[in-house]
Symmetry: C3
Subunit: 205 residues, 3 copies
């Protein structure tokens, strides 16, 4: 396993999610400290819940405090370039999707490396990817978007299954990760374009 | 301790709570994935919080992945029979109460078996029984019902105390469980019928 | 380290937060049981999250059940004297601020004593102090106040840094604690008086 490659992706994912959290907080008129907390929760919340449930404590950012620095970097980038970033909705969407793909794979890999079966690993992959956003939405008092719109988490799940299969066939992890992320991005973009949804929403609503 | 009997009750409780979670999610217009998450959180959330606080990690469903299957079974049952189940409000109420009673006893037993005192065991019994519903309500952005209506949790607490006392007198666990659950059901039905409440709500509200 | 002194402060902090939680719950028309849960969550929630993240499980109140008693004492005091306490808004504000200062220091000390670096200890100090209130606000379905008003958490952070510095200079812990708490109270009162805020709120809102 190419540790360095995954590590870089993890750092990028953390920064991207911190940016996305900070922007959400600013949109909801949180103050400077509140925005930092939301950046922290969005970037590290999914991994925190995963580590707690697996009993892999102290959780990641406690044993590796440099992750706090990555959050602060994302937070400062978002503050400095917020007007630019908000214009770049498409870019943010892309980054967000890349982050989700990465976190799915990282959660999955960590769980498997601790010796748990594939069903648990898949669940933990989804939890790592989406529960940062769920916590962000809970604190900003929004019903978590992921449960209502886009087939966000379905994309993670499909990507996770694809990755597990690829790992059994190819030995090239970087290749497998890139294919998986492309698949996740593809599903999300298609879902948004075609207005796919798994909703029960009746026609007249 | 009759492991098999309690195990069956635990499985039934998990399925019943997964049904109740799925129905709540559908009522709140969650999509298919969101409903599955709510089913999962409602059925396994109370036990998860209990295990985390006790330091009994990895939590139950991680060490015993078959619990994920029970959640999926409850979820599918709710999807298939939702129109029937929604008509059966009384049946659901009964099942929900049985689930609460079971989870109180299971949380209590697990905590005592880990060597903690009765005060902690009672608290963990209540947490196991009600925090799945609390998490469900938080995610669907409702103020948790249990804190406002019915003397839901008071019933758990009374049941838990009753069970601890019975255990000291009788050796027959199945008998003690059944008596406790009947007591909990009885309190809840009486509370709903008589509109009992522990509320501070002033007369003019 | 003067264990007894810190211990007394911790007990007082727990009782004060239980009072503040109960009053919030009553204001939101929670019932008697719901108010007890909110008292419990407000008083012990921050420390619980800290202990979970540090992997210091079972969490404090599970290994030391007397903390449940302190919560009940605060809860009963709030119920008995609620009309008086609500009149004493200033007193409550003062107590709340003292509680926050204490919990910052206690979280900080515990994390350092477990061998973690200062950046983690500061973060855990803030988490201990403010996440009880965050959980309280989440359950009562309010966007956590601390992220919008007052420079609440900024006061904790400043106090925490001050305390770490003082510890390196003076050996008298009681003195350091009192100085830190006075600083935190001073910042909060100034912030409220001068309407300081770290908000992004535009002028026309």
């Amino acid at each position: 396993m190419n540790i360095t490659f995954v590590l870089y992706l993890d750092i990028i994912g953390t920064i991207v999610f911190a940016i996305s959290g900070t922007l959400t907080a600013i949109n909801n008129r949180f103050d400077l400290f509140g925005s930092l907390v939301i950046a922290f929760v969005t970037a590290l919340g999914g991994g925190m819940i995963r580590d707690l449930l697996l009993g892999a404590t102290p959780v990641l950012w406690v044993s590796q405090p440099q992750y706090l620095t990555y959050v602060v970097i994302g937070y400062l980038l978002a503050l400095l370039f917020q007007s630019h970033i908000l214009k770049l909705r498409r870019t943010m969407f892309l980054f967000d999707t890349i982050g989700i793909g990465l976190f799915t794979i990282i959660g999955l890999e960590k769980t498997i490396s601790l010796g748990f079966p594939a069903s648990i690993a898949l669940t933990m992959g989804v939890i790592s990817a989406v529960f940062g956003g769920v916590l962000r939405d809970l604190i900003t008092n929004i019903v978590p978007l992921i449960f209502r719109k886009e087939i966000y988490a379905t994309a993670c799940l499909t990507g996770g299954i694809c990755y597990i299969l690829l790992e059994k066939i190819y030995d090239n992890q970087a290749f497998n990760i890139i294919i998986t992320i492309i698949l996740i991005i593809f599903i999300r973009i298609l879902a948004v374009k075609k207005k796919w949804s798994l909703a029960f929403i009746p026609k007249n609503s």
